[in-house]
């Protein structure tokens, strides 16, 4: 039974992975400038970014998805379910990712920035040569966490009818009446995905470790 | 009376590839204060931790008043051994009074009234009765350590172990802790003290044990040790320390 349904589940898994990858990337693209502005920007931009991230971390993903999918058509923007989900996941993820990057940048001690300035480096140079390499390493662990969050939350695309892993599972259940078996299999696939993602990024983190330098935890 | 309170027999301990204790043996009689001196990192702290079994030795035996301390009876025996840590290790969520009386109350199962009475008495003896309701984070280093001593004493131990009790303190706070320890020794408490405070060692100790590299290199009375060290290492050590602390070796 499981073997028969595997092809369908794998189709769904592909959609899930694709959803996750797109949303995460779009979120990244939005989050980087936002985090930048929050750390280095003027008072107005800091305020706007703050409102942005606080808002999108305070409303449920489902509400956001509904607003985008059912609500936007009222002002003329009609997105198909998959795109609506990508947009919703991306906006929500960008809010969290911006906080990760902001935290990582702030974790690089001010003393090093001062040292760079006193060597005559410009702000740009200081950021690129001193802050960025370290902030990047600090971001990896929490970003990996965010990756697994987006991966798991992609299951909410079910609510918009997107045929990702969970919905494929429910279609199979409708045919075979074996909900426990099928949904447990879905759970297992998700587990394999999250564990693999964790392992891959842990390895990446290890490769980038500066010998002897402890990894500090970025809390958010 | 030649009453042996603590007998340590051939203790050995290694951490991975590093052998920290290479067969240490000594005895402490009732009422004696034994001070262990030596360079840092030579197993002195490990030795103390092995005595009350906070660390499990690889081989060797420890006897408290004739009874062997094993991992099975360690918890019970620890009630009779007081331990004062270098980092104080006061319970941060409890006031000074609670820190001192939690042992009598929860471990010795005394009533709250009895435990409180004992705790207040010990706090008075270390001079901190007025700080009974303060939390550790509101106390200075010296005050914290004195509460830690009170906490150990509230259990009415037969023996008290001190692991570099003043090493984490600012110089001006060391005195208050040493004076509490000196009074304790004068009252006849059996003590084993690991320290770098040579003045204390000279004036309070009944016996000096000099350790390096996991073995006891020399032992003797303070007079013997400070005026006539037998081994070269001991001589070098004393010379270095007196240069550092400005104490002239007579």
């Amino acid at each position: 039974m499981i073997v028969e349904s595997l092809p369908f589940l794998l189709k769904g898994t592909l959609v899930t992975v694709w959803l996750t990858a797109l949303s995460l990337s779009l979120g990244l693209i939005i989050a980087v400038p936002v985090s930048f502005l929050q750390v280095y920007g003027g008072r107005v931009s800091r305020f706007i970014c703050s409102i942005y991230e606080k808002t999108f971390r305070s409303i449920p993903l489902l509400v956001l998805l509904m607003l985008i999918f059912y609500g936007l058509p009222e002002i003329g923007i009609r997105l198909e379910p998959f795109l609506a989900c990508v947009l919703g996941l991306a906006i929500r993820s960008s809010a969290y990712q911006s906080q990760i990057f902001r935290g990582a940048i702030l974790s690089v001690s001010k003393g090093q920035t001062l040292a760079a300035y006193s060597l005559g480096m410009s702000r740009m140079q200081t950021f690129w040569h001193v802050v960025f390499p370290q902030a990047l390493r600090f971001s990896i662990a929490p970003w990996t966490n965010e990756l697994t969050v987006v991966l798991k939350d992609s299951s909410m695309a079910y609510a918009l009818g997107v045929v990702e892993l969970l919905r494929q599972g429910s279609y199979i259940v409708a045919r075979t009446y074996e909900p426990m078996l099928i949904f447990l299999t879905c759970a297992a696939i998700y587990l394999i995905l999250t564990v693999s993602a964790n392992k891959i990024f842990a390895a990446i983190e290890k490769k980038l470790t500066i010998p002897g330098f402890e990894m500090r935890e970025v809390l958010h | 009376m030649d009453d042996v309170v603590l007998k340590v027999e051939d203790l050995r301990k290694r951490f991975g590839s590093l052998e920290v204790l290479k067969g240490v043996s000594f005895e402490v009689r009732r009422g004696q204060t034994v001070v262990i001196l030596g360079p840092s990192g030579t197993g002195k702290s490990t030795l103390l931790a092995c005595i009350n079994r906070l660390v499990e030795p690889d081989s060797g035996r420890v006897f408290l008043e004739g009874e062997e301390i094993t991992s099975k009876n360690a918890q019970k025996m620890r009630q009779k051994i007081g331990f004062v840590f270098q980092d104080f290790n006061l319970f941060n969520h409890l006031t000074a009074l609670d820190n001192v009386r939690i042992g009598p109350m929860k471990v010795q199962k005394l009533s709250k009234e009895e435990a409180t009475e004992i705790a207040l008495e010990q706090l008075r003896k270390v001079g901190l009765l007025d700080k009974a309701n303060h939390y550790p984070s509101q106390l200075s280093g010296g005050q914290k350590q004195r509460v830690a001593i009170a906490r150990a004493l509230a259990m009415r131990p037969t023996l008290v172990l001190f692991d570099e009790p003043t090493s984490a303190l600012d110089p001006e706070l060391i005195g208050e802790v040493l004076s509490v320890m000196t009074d304790l020794a004068k009252e006849g408490m059996t003590m084993v003290v690991v320290t770098h405070e040579l003045g204390f060692a000279r004036s309070v100790a009944n016996e000096i044990i000099f350790m390096e590299g996991g073995v006891i290199l020399e032992r003797g009375t303070p007079e013997e040790f400070f005026t006539n060290p037998k081994t070269d290492r001991a001589r070098q050590f004393l010379k270095k320390l007196s240069e550092l602390y400005g104490e002239k070796a007579r």
């Binding site: 449920p60 509400v63 992609s154 759970a187 | 319970f91 042992g103």
Partner: protein, 223 residues
């Protein structure tokens, strides 16, 4: 319809849903704390077998989506004759899920306390469980308050998932109203605003609570 009219029409129902949302959240956060503490203690302090069991359970729950867990409870259990109502399935599902996450937060707090406290407890003759109960947990549970607050707010948002299995919380009410008056944007916007307010209100209340419970002299998050 104007926004104000929508508010008038939709608010009563939405607030009804809000009650269920809050109920789900508080139950899951509270029960999750108790079960999470037990899981954490089992993982950190118990023997190897129990420890592995707890760790395995925690990783299992944290590695799979909450929605899948809800589906297993609501659609899967009937196979064995256990038929749960949507609300009960949601309660159980959110509680178990929260317990697994909270177990990890508490574990972080326990590890931040440092071995010295345990040694000191042993040195006055406490047993391992006495030390855990009297010395480690009281400190760890205080340190975990910020994370617990986060978890509470997380639950506030994620209980919206329960509408998918038919629980009558706020999201379900919003969908109901919107599918009748077709004012999707305005209704969901109102819903979003309500969530926003509740989240900010909770964050404020908890930060005040945290200040009250602080051990005098410590700065939050320090040692």
């Amino acid at each position: 319809m104007s926004f104000l009219q929508i508010v008038q029409q939709a608010l009563p129902r939405l607030l009804n849903g809000l009650v269920v949302t809050l109920y789900l959240t508080m139950f899951a956060a509270g029960a999750g704390l108790l079960i999470g503490t037990a899981l954490c203690v089992g993982r950190v302090f118990a023997n190897r077998f129990v420890s592995m069991l707890c760790a395995g359970f925690i990783e299992l729950i944290r590695g799979t989506p909450m929605l899948v867990q809800l589906f297993i409870l609501y659609y899967g259990l009937p196979v064995y004759g256990i038929r749960l109502s949507p609300l009960v399935a949601a309660l159980i599902g959110f509680t178990i899920n929260s317990a697994a996450y909270q177990a990890e937060y508490i574990r972080g707090a326990v590890q931040s306390i440092g071995a010295g406290q345990m040694r000191a407890a042993y040195s006055i003759g406490m047993s391992k469980w006495q030390a855990v109960r009297l010395i480690i947990l009281p400190q760890a549970l205080r340190r975990v308050i910020p994370a617990w607050t986060n978890e509470f707010i997380y639950l506030l948002k994620y209980t919206s998932m329960a509408y998918i299995i038919g629980a009558p919380e706020m999201m379900a009410q919003a969908k109901f109203i919107a599918s009748r008056n077709f004012e999707f944007f305005k209704v969901y916007l109102l819903t979003a605003l309500i969530y926003l307010s509740i989240v900010w209100l909770s964050a404020y209340v908890f930060s005040q609570l945290e200040k009250k419970l602080r051990i005098p002299g410590t700065i939050l998050g320090e040692r």
